[in-house]
């Protein structure tokens, strides 16, 4: 293990939607696999302190308007989100930003996979 990294576990042990909670200093961090990519976010919702990273991981539901009089068609987009199980506050896994109000941000951490092992970078 290099300095400034915490080993999380074997990459092969993660399926999409899986989360592993690790301690980074005094903070809990959730390491999440979604759509084949790894993400790490502080496991503390800025709303009420809930375990955000232990919530549902899925694609963000987006709407597209076809023009006047047309229904707004909803579909699951490309961005992955995690939703705090306490009240549903949802955050973009890549940026940590709340999907409706980017003034709320969950801290994110870089994740690397080296030799089949997932590491969270803590620097």
């Amino acid at each position: 293990m290099s300095d400034g990294e915490i080993a999380v576990g074997a990459a092969d042990d993660f399926d999409d939607g899986d989360v592993e909670i690790v301690e980074v200093g005094r903070a809990e961090v959730g390491v999440i696999r979604a759509d084949g990519e790894f993400y790490a976010l502080r496991n503390q919702c800025p709303h009420d302190g809930g375990p955000t990273c232990e919530g549902k991981v899925e694609k963000r539901l987006v709407g597209e308007w076809g023009g006047p009089g047309e229904r707004v068609e909803q579909r699951y987009g490309d961005d992955c989100i995690v939703s705090c199980p306490w009240h549903g506050w949802s955050f973009d896994l890549d940026t940590g930003e709340h999907i409706g109000d980017d003034s709320y941000v969950v801290p994110t951490y870089d994740v690397v996979v080296r030799d089949g092992v997932v590491y969270v970078q803590t620097d």
């Binding site: 023009g67 006047p68 009089g69 009240h87 999907i99 109000d101 709320y104």
Partner: protein, 362 residues
Amino acid sequence: MIEPAEHLVVDCDWHYADTFEQVAPYMPEPWKTKFRNSGWDSTGVNQGLSAFFPTSTGNRSNYGKIDREFSEYPQGGDDKADVVEGMEFLDVDATLQISHLILAMGGVTADDRRVESFIKGYIDYMLAEVLDPDAGIYGLAPLPYHDIDASMDVLDRIEDEETFKGVVMVTAGASPPLGNRKYDPIYERCEALGLPVVYHTGGSGLDDYVRAGYEEMIETHTLGFLESNMSQIVSVACQGVPEKFPDLDIVFMESGVTYLPGLISRLDEEYLKRAEEAPLLEAPPGDYISDFYFGTQPLEESARPDLLEICFDMLGTEHLLYASDYPHWDYDSPSIITDLPMLDDEQRKDILGRNAAEVFDL
């Protein structure tokens, strides 16, 4: 402190106290003849507004306490001279006239052309007999929004009439609510024409706005007006009307201002928990609502000053429009704005007239 008489005062909500008998000769057939032969006459005038068996709780004149020197309200039958005299009384330089009778359109549930015919007749009547830019008397055209084709007819009619400065959508009784895609063609056309959409709460259906059985107008008028406006504000914002039609000016009339911080706060709180349900929004709905314009009447001048200050701060004094609601029973004089201690003189002038002059291109 400023004197209203020395500054531009635009009254964004003057109710022309019309009668069906005045408008009927201008209605398209067959309703012109149907009305003449119906024997409704004054019954048609009174029903739903101040009849002994009202469709709304209470009596508009508070059982004889309210008297209007410059209007035939509540019976109706005003003419242009009444409006001119009333404007002198209130010291207002310009008014936007909204039909008194159309406020009850939500009570018409039949799928016939009554509302459409009244509106078409009203527009021709007002053009022929009342509206006069030289006297500062402008109009807002009601829309029979339940019928999109009829609404397009109305927009065709006023497209080249400079005295109509916007449209009115009565918030009471609109179903589906006014953010629904059904109304997109109206908004698209109004945006293209540069006509602000004025949502005006209405007096019909107040008794059972949520539940039947209220006894007095103090209850239904307090609650029903708020419910009508709030339900449409939420629909218009959440369904993304401001995102769909970014150049459309949206104005909400006649529920004061203190309900708005509460509504915005509650809606934004919901949005943080359910943002995907308003997928067209790029920001919390309150950010869109605070871009709307709001008529100030009936301003809650007896409220705690710090509450009013918060309201003005959240909504922005550049988004507030003085409205009298004259000759209705709870009208506001311009002094209600000039007497507010938490505003400076520039803000008072903005609210009294300058904001409206810009929004309505006066």
